[in-house]
């Protein structure tokens, strides 16, 4: 499995960016993912709740979203 991280190495080689640039970039990207997960799947849960007139799908969606966010972050940045 090759490290699938286009965000980490846009030049396709070894990451030679300075620590601060890289850190700021990584932090911003990870925050984006952490917001995107709960928001997207929370919205889906909310929509399904409205459709099926239930109440439990939105919290489940939010929790699933957080888990998926962390999974993607691990997938993109966490592997050696």
């Amino acid at each position: 499995m090759s490290p699938a991280s286009p965000n980490l190495t846009p030049s396709g080689g070894k990451d030679e960016r300075s620590g601060f640039s890289r850190g700021s970039d990584l932090a911003a990207q990870i925050v984006s993912y952490l917001i995107a997960g709960p928001l997207t799947f929370g919205a889906i849960g909310w929509g399904l709740d409205a459709l099926l007139s239930t109440h439990f799908l939105r919290p489940i969606g939010i929790i699933v979203g957080v888990a998926l966010s962390m999974y993607v972050i691990w997938l993109r940045y966490g592997r050696p």
């Binding site: 699938a4 286009p6 846009p10 396709g12 970039d25 911003a28 990207q29 984006s32 799947f41 997938l75």
Partner: protein
Amino acid sequence: MSLSAALTSGAVVTADEFTGPSPADFYQPMWDFGWIEITRPMLVLVLVTILACWIMLAGSRNASVVPSKGQFYFEQIYDFVRGGIARDMIGPNYKKYLPLIFGLFLFVLLSNLMASTPFVQNPPSARIAVPIAATAVVYIAYHYVGFKKHGFLGYFKFMVPAGLAPAMVPVIFLLEAATFFLIRPLTLALRLFGNMFAGHMLILVFVLGGEFLLFHDNWLFKLFSVGAFGMGFLMQIFEILIQALQAYVFALLAASYIGTAEADEH
């Protein structure tokens, strides 16, 4: 002019009661033509644009091997954006995007610095419309690069990281698409807006509070106003750091998004 305008427009200072600054203080109409109102941030934006054009023209005109003082400083900033932001984030093809990144950096930097410029003291970037407009430029740019590089369907395929179980692909795709199309521009605009708005508000609180204390009947209050003004001054210095940092982060992320879209398929 700026301080008195801020004082009269929003914060009402009465004998005993202090009303802090509010977002309404940022709305400062200057001329009303009926169909359009020219506000202070609009005027400051024109100033920023003229200043940015002048800096770029003056810095690059008569460019020589042995630079003049102005050219030297200009090249320092340009080098920083070129090496520290564009090349680092985009990779070998960075030159195409350098004018955009540099223009954005200079525009955001000047807009932010207007918060601490005497007699102006009003950052246009603390009005949500300005970060949104700057982000819209970045948004169009990086999606254009992505679609052009990978093709229409290829760009969507490119968003999903490799090494996923097939069952996970649609779920992760949803998440990635939300990140690419919604959350990235949202955070980019809100980060700049929030930082500039909060910073300006903080200074207003200290300066308006100091002013309230100074004009209070109680002499002890007058004494404390020194501390409030002192903090206002300190915050002003601190804000200059934040202003430069936010311009850097904005340009950095713009370059990073373009770099991601430009990256080779995995």
